[in-house]
Amino acid sequence: MLEISGLNQFYGESHTLWDLDVEIPQGQCTCVMGRNGVGKTTLMQCIMGLLPLRSGSLSYEGQDLARLTAERRAPLGIGYVPQGRQIFPLLTVEENLRIGLAARPDRAKQIPGYIFELFPVLKEMLGRRGGDLSGGQQQQLAIGRALVIDPKLLILDEPTEGIQPNIVHEIGDIIRRLMTDLNLTVILVEQKLPFARRVADRFIILDRGRLMASGAMPDLTEDLVKQYLTV
């Protein structure tokens, strides 16, 4: 579904991502792992087009993503739940959700109802400013917002951060369900092994901006964990 090859990224002069070659297979959930500051978020932002690439290519369903601006990627069906939630703080919950409607291929005028089923809090808080929500509520809103655009590829950057345990659990289920129901492909950035193991099909491990290992989830050995995920 998404093929990344030879990707290099710089913040000013500091080389953050080094010659990444990653493949995200269709219909599966790929978990991106690594310690703090290895470049996971940076990679996601590159995929979303929020950061300029130094070199490399991104091919999404055969299309060259790198040549498209960020706002042209969402309509292709890429939904993004960024790290740190990035709610529009002064828009109401409803407005936060509506923003994505314009990018839907079917031009729907209504927020899909299943989102409220997934996150009932959002329904209760429809008229409240996004910025006023509690951290966990905001995180739920962020996921809901990404779903509004009816994505084919969903990028989740640490989506469970700050969410209460029962909902975390539920989010795991939701992800799996969406993948089967909507034939969704998911890229998940996650630090928490149990969750990652439960939800993801595949993993890739980054360290200092380089791809260190990848494979099917069961292949994630304690060795790898020790080497790349512990300090």
Binding site: M48, G49, L50, T69, A70, E71, R72, R73, A74, P75, Y80, P82, Q86, F88, P89, L90, L91, E95, R98, I99, G100, A102, A103, R129, G130, G131, D132, R145, I149
Partner: protein, 545 residues
């Protein structure tokens, strides 16, 4: 030389009018023929250099009783009367291919075509204008057209001459138009104040109670100063008190209107900024110049359609919106789009743009102000009562400001653009990730703000100067209004503008214009201490960081 000596009175020029009416009424009874020569001479005198000679001539012509004298005098008053250079005969002119086509002013006969230099306009002065109006009034009080009679009655209001009073009484007997009757009644009451009989005076005093005509108040005040009869005095005092009371109420209403009207100007000037600055966060120092561009568009539109002044504004409003809006888009695409996320630098760049635009107007049009005309429906006033009139231009601008406000509110609250622009302003990267085409949204929004500024320029051109500096006059106030109202809140801008306008006007009578302004500024500074984020603050967790 004038035949009526009172005309030359220096101390009491208005007696010129009086004497004239006197003359008219007397001479109406004389046989017409004996006057003919004198009138002929008077017609020649109209083009004399001396205004005294002219005035005397007008007296003669008016007294001549010629049925066409009214038309001639009207033409003179309207500045349409010319004198033929060859024989100084007064003529009416109509432009024609070769110059002017002349008609005799008195008998209406066609005098052929001449070149432009062959006739000279007959100028009149202030005093003559007064004289002419009174003369025309006297000639037209009995006119069949009630509108003309009404004008005449208004003109004669308060005239104390007994013969005039007689004529008024006469007319009242057969007058059937209520508005005219009111004026005539009032005139008679004013006249009766001077009656010998206290009872008559008393009746007149009571009739005048609460009348808002300045003439009534003045007459009562004057009466009080020398009225011997205690009963009449008491009544006059009462009447006067009633008048004062009503005047006060009217004055309060007037002040409120002035305040709202000033406020609406502030709102109009600021509302475009409420978008470019309030919503988008661009510190747009060129906002004033966008207003200026709108005003110049009005000017150019009027130049382009000289015959259709009354419709010009309807063309100018969309034109200004488009011109200023496109300019806004141009500014946004060429400069501002590189500066998002660096709001303070937009200040710098737009300040530079404002300098360039000012100078551009100076070099391409002129450094002087240009004359933007008021369509006829924008001039004059809606007379609520004799003491309270709402000027049309202010009234329309107030309404217009509210319309613009509502339109913008709908755009921002009800359209996708409104939502998207707010999203982009709050978090550009995230908005783009959601598929919002931020470049388009920015350009459209800035264009909208600029276009609204242009539209404001159309309105302001009706009130004030149109010149290269006009933008500078509004920029400070506009920022003040937007900030005072609370950045990002359109309602805030409306309420802030109107509040500041009314506050200013409430203070102006006792503090004077300058001090009032200073006090309003101090008030704003102190008020902000209580509400550090304006009247309608952005609230919630996000706002207080």
């Amino acid at each position: 030389m004038p035949m009526n000596p009172t005309c030359r009175s220096r101390r009491f020029p208005h007696l010129g009018g009086l004497g004239l009416v006197f003359g008219v009424l007397i001479l109406m009874m004389l046989p017409l023929g004996s006057m003919a020569d004198e009138i002929d001479a008077a017609l020649i005198d109209l083009s004399d250099r001396s205004f005294e000679v002219k005035q005397a001539a007008v007296d003669v012509i008016a007294a001549g009783g010629d049925p066409r004298a009214g038309t001639l005098l009207e033409a003179l008053l309207g500045g349409n009367l010319y004198a033929r250079e060859s024989d100084r005969r007064p003529v009416l002119v109509a432009p024609s291919p070769g110059g002017y086509r002349l008609t005799d002013a008195l008998d209406g006969s066609d005098l052929g075509e001449v070149e432009r230099g062959a006739v000279k306009k007959i100028t009149i002065n202030n005093r003559m204008r007064n004289q002419l109006r009174t003369a025309i009034a006297a000639l037209t009080l009995a006119s069949p057209d009630p509108e003309i009679r009404l004008k005449a009655a208004q003109q004669m209001l308060g005239d104390a001459n007994p013969i005039v009073v007689e004529a008024i009484r006469d007319q009242l007997g057969r007058e059937d138009d209520q508005r005219v009757r009111d004026y005539l009644d009032l005139s008679l009451a004013l006249a009766s104040l001077r009656d010998e009989a206290p009872a008559a005076r008393l009746a007149a005093v009571n009739a005048l109670s609460g009348s808002l005509y300045p003439a009534a108040r003045n007459a009562l005040t004057k009466l009080l100063s020398d009225e011997p009869d205690p009963e009449v005095r008491a009544a006059a005092e009462r009447s006067l008190a009633a008048i004062e009371q009503k005047l006060k109420l009217n004055a309060a209403a007037e002040t409120l209107f002035f305040g709202l009207s000033l406020g609406s100007v502030l709102v109009l000037a600021a509302i475009g900024l409420a978008i470019t600055f309030g919503v988008m966060g661009v510190i747009n120092m060129a906002h004033g110049e966008l207003i200026m561009i709108g005003a110049y568009t009005t000017y150019l539109v009027q130049q382009a359609m000289p015959g259709f002044l009354d419709y010009s504004l309807f063309v100018a409003i969309p034109a200004a919106f488009v011109v200023a809006g496109l300019l806004g888009v141009l500014i946004e695409r060429s400069v501002i789009r590189f500066l998002y996320g660096r709001p303070l630098e937009t200040l710098l760049a737009t300040f530079g743009i404002s300098l360039i635009l000012q100078q551009l107007v100076r070099t391409t049009i002129s450094a002087q102000n240009v004359a933007v005309q008021n369509p006829s429906w924008m001039s004059g006033a809606l007379q609520i009562n004799p003491a309270l009139a709402l000027t049309y231009n202010r009234l329309y601008i107030l309404i217009f400001a509210l319309m613009v406000f509502v339109a913008l509110l709908l755009i921002l609250k009800r359209t996708a653009l409104g939502l998207q622009v707010r999203a982009v302003a709050q978090n550009r990267a995230m908005a783009r990730s959601m598929g919002v085409r931020s470049a388009r949204v920015d350009a459209l929004t800035f264009g909208l703000g600029a276009g609204v500024a242009g539209v404001a320029g159309v309105a302001l051109s009706q009130l004030t100067n149109v010149g290269p500096n006009m933008g500078q006059a509004y920029i400070i106030d506009s920022f003040m209004v937007v900030v005072f109202g609370g950045v990002g809140n359109l309602w805030g801008t409306l309420v802030a503008g109107l509040t500041l306008g009314v506050a200013n006007k409430l203070m102006e009578p006792w503090a004077g214009a300058v001090l009032a302004k200073i006090l309003v500024l101090v008030f704003i500074i102190l008020f902000i201490q209580k509400r550090p984020r304006g009247l309608f603050p952005q609230r919630g967790r996000a706002a207080d960081g």
